[in-house]
């Protein structure tokens, strides 16, 4: 079962993890990732813009790809949009699998794709004003290893 949500409100990691763990004894491994807003470089807030429709579609395509590559028993993605201040959660990716490497790899694969392909854009507020974040070459590199 896969669940993909794009939402303005916060999420609770423990609820997402509990949903991945059916306690049936078929899940051997749960790998999760939580992305948070960092404020250590003077960030006041960030605002996440997205392309409704394409965003869900892009994520669904990569979820299907992950399910083709790895034995996945459960998968949950939550991505927030709107204005977020430092310390707030941005994204959750959780993968349950019978095997440890599969769970880790699928979670990394999905995070790399969310970073580099899913149509989200960040605007940052700092003392000096607001700017759109530029894409990093390092992120483009990180996705190449999955080809």
């Amino acid at each position: 079962m896969s669940e993909i949500r794009i939402q303005a409100q916060d999420f609770d990691p423990s609820v997402e993890i509990a949903a991945l763990d059916d306690a049936s004894g078929s899940v051997g491994a749960i790998a999760t990732f939580i992305g948070l807003v960092r404020g250590d470089d003077g960030l006041i807030a960030m605002t996440l813009d997205h392309y409704p429709g394409m965003c869900e579609r892009e994520i669904a395509v990569h979820v299907a790809e992950a399910r083709k590559r790895w034995p996945i028993t459960g998968l949950r993605i939550v991505h927030r949009i709107g204005r977020l201040v430092p310390g707030e959660r941005i994204v959750f990716v959780g993968v349950a699998s019978s095997h440890r490497q599969a769970a880790f790899q699928a979670a990394q694969f999905l995070m790399d794709y969310l970073k580099t392909r899913a149509p989200f854009w960040k605007r940052e507020e700092r003392q000096g004003g607001e700017t759109w974040v530029e894409a990093k070459a390092a992120d483009d590199e990180s996705v190449k290893r999955w080809r």
């Binding site: 392309y51 394409m54 892009e58 991505h79 970073k115 580099t116 899913a118 854009w121 605007r123």
Partner: protein, 83 residues
């Protein structure tokens, strides 16, 4: 066709979405961009540097030489910065 602009493109152009009828000679994304650049200073600024731009045709990442038609949804945006 339906045009969508995201992030700083939307700010430069001043709208997030518009319906446009283009001549049938405008058959690729690149031709559409040339056509849009003639619509004013905002468009001119938004489409100045194509290396800084990405395009999606009907919600799929596409190339500038992709074919387009009157019923397509074309979105322009900078490289994505999600997660």
């Amino acid at each position: 066709m339906k045009l969508l602009y995201f992030a700083w493109l939307r700010q430069k152009i001043g709208v997030s979405e518009e319906e446009l009828s283009v001549p049938s000679s405008v058959a690729t994304v690149a031709a559409l961009i040339d056509c849009l650049k003639s619509r004013g200073a905002g468009y001119e600024a938004a489409f100045r540097d194509l290396k800084a731009l990405r395009v999606a045709v009907n919600q799929q990442h596409s190339r500038f030489d992709a074919a387009i038609g009157p019923n397509d949804e074309i979105a322009f945006f900078p490289p994505v910065t999600g997660g």
